[in-house]
Amino acid sequence: MTDHVVGPVEDFPPGTHRLVQLGRIEVGIFNVAGVFHALPNICPHQFGPLCAGTVNGTTACSAETNWTFAWVRQGEIVTCPWHGIEFDIATGQSLSSPRLRVRTYPVRVVDGQVTVTI
């Protein structure tokens, strides 16, 4: 386990995400409303560049929404740009299959620097 300083916190404003290269691993750093997350840039489906996908929300439709479509979790979901599989940025778990999940790396801010442990 090594700490990698990836840049000052100002370079990762809320609602954005960026790819960084840490040794041989590409990592997506996500700032979701002030909370940092890091995921490997490789989709467990067919190994597409997961973190190059769009970050936004998703749809819900249940008894809670009175069985009408609602837009929920804005900013918390990344969609793989290859085949559209959605992942929860905070947990790395896909929304569609218990088998499809990516690991998450711990991220924290140390002295104003975003630091990832891999």
Partner: protein
């Protein structure tokens, strides 16, 4: 039946070690591109349609996550490839040596109601394919479009292109075809393909139409239509082809099924064999069981490959339908549900079986020489 390929061990085969032939990639046959190859008066219409915008209500539903510059070779927001040079570069980036070209728009070909227009379009498409795609880059091969609306013309087209080195098969437009392939009116097409030693390749697409089995109008979203469209089209057309005895009446004809995955095949083999037992007297031209024709002269392209939780189940499925010899790798490049070659390479099967699926079967079937530096 081939040797079972279900083994625990995965050989360390890499794409670089084998010929990769992609049995299904798509060229962007826009109206403007085809216009110069089309006879009047139909050319006028194609020219007028050039640059027509994509009707946004045809986007398959709610798509807020779409990236307009997706990180795929070529970055095609519209998931289409417009030139042979682009296609060559993108297939190479995907480590694919040889691509078999199918159309984009002409996937809907069989649903064109006017037989004269259909004939003119088929002629234009075939001219354009040969001129702009098959003579320009290494490793691009094509299938000549057979116009089901005009079988005699289609048979002459097959004869016309039969000796073109880069024409390796006959494309049977399958979405909305009415009656289904197998109907006796299409016998001239089957006869011409057989005589030219060109395999016929069925390719469908998601289409809502009153033609069986495309009545998908009652489904409210694209999930359901996509699930059923290609698979039902292949099941219906396979049954039709068998029920009129096409494989018996055209004993050298080879038949390829594309873009429906493979797991539907064992089910259809068992089901047809069961009713062949009961109803053989209705189809006495079949000299053997339907499954025997399938395991001898039919091939199935992988994409969109099924993705069971345990990939060994897919290897078992391949053995159930006759073994790796029956399977052709296909990516469906550049469409939205394309399969990367890795989707097949990661299956737990021996390297020899992967080599067959990834390329050797297709080289033999289509009569394509192995690309230089491979094999």
């Amino acid at each position: 039946m081939s040797t079972p390929s279900t083994i625990e061990r995965t050989d360390r085969a890499t794409l670089a070690d084998m010929v990769v032939v992609d049995a299904d990639v798509h060229v962007n046959d826009t109206p403007g591109a085809l216009a110069p190859y089309c006879e009047e008066p139909w050319r006028l219409s194609l020219e007028a349609l050039d640059g027509a915008s994509y009707p946004y209500l045809q986007v398959p539903g709610f798509a807020p996550n779409m990236r307009l510059d997706p990180p795929i070779p070529g970055q095609h927001a519209n998931r289409s490839v417009s030139t042979a040079a682009e296609m060559r570069a993108e297939l190479s980036e995907l480590q694919i040596d040889v691509g078999i070209l199918f159309p984009d728009h002409m996937l809907l070909f069989a649903a064109i109601p006017n037989p004269e227009y259909a004939t003119a379009l088929a002629q234009a498409y075939n001219r354009w394919l040969l001129e702009e795609w098959l003579t320009r880059e290494p490793g691009l091969y094509g299938v000549v479009l057979a116009c089901p609306q005009n079988p005699d013309f289609a048979a002459r087209e097959i004869e016309r292109y039969a000796n073109e080195e880069r024409v390796v098969g006959v494309y049977l437009p399958t979405a909305g075809v009415n009656p289904l392939w197998g109907d006796r009116r299409y016998d001239p097409i089957m006869a011409a393909a057989e005589a030219a030693n060109l395999p016929v390749c069925l390719h469908s697409v998601t289409l809502v139409s009153p033609a069986f089995p495309c009545q998908l109008d009652q489904f409210e979203n694209h999930f359901a239509r996509q699930v059923l469209s290609h698979a039902f089209a292949m099941m219906a057309n396979l049954t039709s082809i068998v029920h009129t005895g096409v494989p018996a009446r055209f004993p050298e004809l080879r038949i390829v099924f594309t873009e429906a995955g493979i797991a539907w095949v064992p089910y259809m083999m068992w089901r047809m064999d069961k009713y062949y037992n009961e109803y053989r007297r209705l189809v006495p031209f079949l000299e053997k069981r339907p499954s025997d024709y399938i395991t001898e002269r039919m091939w199935f392209a992988t994409q969109p490959i099924e993705e069971p939780d345990d990939l060994k189940d897919l290897v078992v499925t391949i053995d159930l339908l006759g073994g790796p010899e029956r399977i052709l790798f296909a990516s469906d490049w550049p469409h939205h549900d394309f399969d990367h070659p890795r989707a097949i390479m990661k299956l737990p099967m021996p390297a020899a079986a992967k080599r067959r699926i990834m390329g050797e079967n297709a080289l033999e079937l289509f009569g394509i020489p192995a690309p230089a530096g491979k094999l």
